[in-house]
């Protein structure tokens, strides 16, 4: 019943030797080349970076990185320590939904010609608390925000219609309570 999603949104086949859904948060020096060092640590050990969010911290000398990664579960502890070892990394920690708030956001462009389809799509968007941020005669862009699972389900439902493209931010996390991320 569901249609094929565009290439960039295709889900990988599940592999038992690979873990997905792990989220690392790093506090790093805000300098050229720092991202390159971090990416090499992951690439060398055959980890895939599923999502990556980088932005300047409140103190502009530092940046905050949030990475969603998948790879060999046995090496996760290792890779955190290897990242932490980099001189440009102030600290690197793993976060789980239990100890952190996770947020993800997607922009979905959908072909909607005809009033009936448009109404159906708008209902789905509303159900997920999304917003319509662009509308033309035959298409609209919806913005849906929430934890990654919620964003996944929204995309899954919307893919029953003709999705032209999606752009996703990747997840950002923040430690719950008074603890810092």
């Amino acid at each position: 019943m569901s249609k094929t999603i565009t290439t960039t949104d295709r889900k990988p086949k599940p592999r038992p030797d690979v873990i997905g859904g792990h989220t690392l948060s790093m506090h790093v020096n805000n300098q050229p080349g720092v991202l390159m060092r971090i990416c090499q640590v992951f690439a060398r050990r055959a980890y895939n970076i599923d999502s990556l969010v980088v932005s300047q911290g409140r103190d502009p000398r530092f940046s905050r990185l949030t990475l969603g990664i998948s790879g060999d579960p046995a090496g996760l502890d290792q890779i955190i320590k290897q990242c932490d070892k980099l001189v440009d990394v102030i600290h690197c920690t793993e976060h789980t939904p239990a100890n952190a708030v996770v947020r993800d956001m997607v922009l979905v462009k959908i072909e909607v010609s005809g009033a009936e389809r448009r109404t159906e799509v708008l209902q789905i968007i509303e159900h997920f608390g999304g917003k319509t941020v662009d509308m033309s005669e035959n298409s609209m862009i919806a913005r849906i925000e929430g934890d990654s699972e919620k964003v996944d389900s929204a995309i899954r439902l919307l893919s029953n219609y003709d999705i032209i493209e999606t752009v996703r931010t990747g997840k950002v996390v923040m430690a719950r309570g008074e603890q810092t991320t």
Binding site: V28, N29, P32, G33, M36, R37, Q40, R44, R61, F62, D77, Q78, K81, Q82, D84, K85, L86, V87, D88, V89, I90, H91
Partner: protein, 577 residues
């Protein structure tokens, strides 16, 4: 008012290096490094510059200097190919945790990324092989970055740090603070001295329960300067000690408790001890694949204590029962306060039995063997020379037969396994220790990769001895082909070797050749005399098809060690190369 002396960036850089106590810069000039080379002439400093004949040689010299002193030297080269030629040497230093500062010239900043002449992204290229690196964009940052590089290179787990300096950055007027302090919010080597008391407590409890303990001493114990504490631990417990290739000398190899080197070509008794022990106390070794063989069988019946300054070494190869993260000397100081003598008499008897049953040995008939040359070198130098090696059969025999009783006297490329390392490393070590006997033990293969440095040795009148153990083969590869590839030789015959003694003479060094076993002693003694006039090369023509034993095929368990040549056909090893 006196006129302020104006400096350019390059001069500020050299001044800072001088202040940091840098004694030697090894390097090779070139366009993008011109301002820095000029500063060597215009700034009054105690730094001595050594012109090498290849940039790779410069890195290995700085490496040899550092491994003989514990202090870093600087490598100074130009951009593009000059910088590119340093990669092997930087990788070698990184793999073996050797401090080094590499300064590369670079194109002017506004040409970066535009394929300018001799432009290479050496910052990007070297990221995987350095502890840290810099591309300097502001002249005024140079003193701070030089200080940070020194600090990072020499503290914690040491390693190479590269500073890429565009020509306009080194050439522009300096108007910053020469005493600018380091600013490294993500680097805390001091934490190594803050050791978890619980871990020490747990370690001492495991030790108290052990009946058959073994200490595994590595390079980390040497870097930490933990020799005294290690001796106290071993002698208090009555615990045998084996060492890694790079740990040679940290515990005297002629001591009764020493089992010598373990691993792929280690002594049979060291490897047997690893198989039969009930406790492995690893002090500053990273459980390299060359010493653990098949990881899941390593120490399968033993408890394991791992002391390492680098938290990322924990659980990397082996899961220890107790992790002690921190400086080895500090950790042993605390551990030694909590230990009591163990009754290891039966265990030591058992190991002595193995020492008698499976000694390192070689045939004395049928031509000249490398083992004999090294055995006699050990005797004529009383085991006190600084020995550097290349990589291959000669390296393993040197490790077996040149027993080291002191730290900082064995200089060999372990992790990287870099051919061409031995001779330039010996030059660096000889600069560092002018009064020591320094012997470069090299094969005919590796020597030919960096032999251009003969000129460097001759020009500087260095009393270095080059012992070429020449079997006209890439012997270690040939050994593997013989054992695992039905003796099909492929790419190992070094037909076309020059007459090495004549070659040395052509450079202005002394050249000797030895072919008969009976002449070895005489030639070595002659070389020890001749070195007073400058470098001496001995070409030892050795038999071609000797193999190194004991041997643990790559990836096999330690218990599958071959003490003698195998009588049956061997399976191809599946483990790490």
């Amino acid at each position: 008012m006196a006129k302020q002396v104006e400096l350019d960036g390059a001069q500020a850089l050299i001044k800072t290096l001088d202040e940091l106590g840098i004694e030697y810069i090894f390097g090779y000039s070139g366009g993008a490094a011109l301002p820095i080379f000029d500063a060597l002439e215009t700034v009054k400093s105690n730094i001595k510059f050594v012109l090498t004949r290849h940039e790779q040689g410069a890195t290995h010299m700085a490496d040899g200097y550092a491994r003989a002193t514990g202090k870093p030297a600087v490598v100074l080269v130009t951009s593009g190919p000059g910088a590119g030629n340093t990669i092997t040497g930087i990788m070698t230093a990184q793999m073996d945790s050797v401090p080094m500062i590499i300064i590369t010239g670079q194109q002017v900043t506004w040409m970066l990324g535009k394929d300018a002449f001799q432009e290479a992204d050496i910052f990007g290229i070297t990221i995987p092989v350095v502890k840290h690196n810099y591309l300097v964009r502001n002249t005024n940052d140079l003193p701070r970055i030089a200080r940070e590089a020194y600090h990072i290179a020499t503290t914690g787990r040491p390693g190479p740090v590269l500073i890429d300096v565009p020509k306009n950055v080194s050439q522009s007027p300096f108007s910053g603070d020469l005493d600018a302090e380091i600013d490294l919010p993500g680097y805390h080597p001091d934490e190594a001295f803050d050791i978890d008391d619980d871990a020490i407590e747990q370690a001492s409890r495991l030790i108290a329960m052990s009946k058959r303990p073994v200490i595994l001493a590595g390079h980390g114990a040497m870097i930490a300067g933990a020799e005294k504490e290690l001796m106290q631990l071993a002698t208090t417990l009555g615990c045998p000690v084996t060492n890694t290739l790079l740990g040679k000398g940290v515990f005297p190899e002629t001591h009764d408790l020493s089992l010598g080197m373990l691993g792929m070509h280690g002594t049979a008794y060291a490897n047997k001890a690893m198989c039969e022990c009930d406790l492995i106390i690893n002090i500053g070794s990273r459980f390299d694949d060359r010493i653990i063989g098949q990881a899941d069988k390593f120490g399968a019946n033993a408890k394991i204590i791992h002391v390492d300054i680098d938290p990322a070494e924990m659980n990397k190869m082996i899961r220890p029962d107790v992790q002690v993260v921190g400086d080895a000397k500090e950790a042993l100081k605390r551990l030694n306060k909590q230990i009591h003598p163990l009754d290891t008499a039966d265990w030591l008897d058992r190991l002595t039995g193995y020492k008698k049953k499976f000694p390192l040995h070689y045939k004395k008939q049928g031509g000249l063997r490398m083992q004999q040359v090294l055995d006699e070198l050990f005797e004529v130098t009383d085991g006190k020379a600084i020995v550097t090696t290349d990589v291959g059969q000669h390296q393993m025999w040197a490790a077996q037969f040149y027993r080291n009783d002191e730290s900082w006297k064995w200089i060999s490329s372990g992790g990287a396994g870099t051919m061409g390392f031995g001779f330039p490393a010996a030059i660096g070590a000889q600069f560092a220790c002018p009064d020591d006997i320094v012997v470069a033990v090299v094969g005919d293969g590796g020597f030919q990769m960096t032999l251009c440095e003969l000129a460097t040795a001759v020009v500087n009148k260095l009393p270095v001895i080059i012992l070429v153990l020449n079997n006209h083969y890439l012997g270690m590869v040939r050994q593997w082909q013989e054992l695992f590839f039905d003796n099909r030789e492929s790419g190992v015959d070094l037909d076309g070797n020059p007459d090495f003694a004549k070659l040395a003479e052509a450079y202005g060094a002394a050249g000797l050749t030895v072919k008969r076993p009976a002449d070895v002693r005489k030639r070595l003694e002659e070389a020890l005399e001749l070195r007073k006039n400058g470098p001496v090369l001995i070409n030892a023509e050795c038999i071609k098809t000797e193999n190194v034993f004991p041997m643990i095929p790559a990836g096999a368990a330690l218990e599958d060690m071959l003490i003698e040549p195998p009588k049956h056909k061997m399976e191809k090893p599946v483990g790490s190369t």
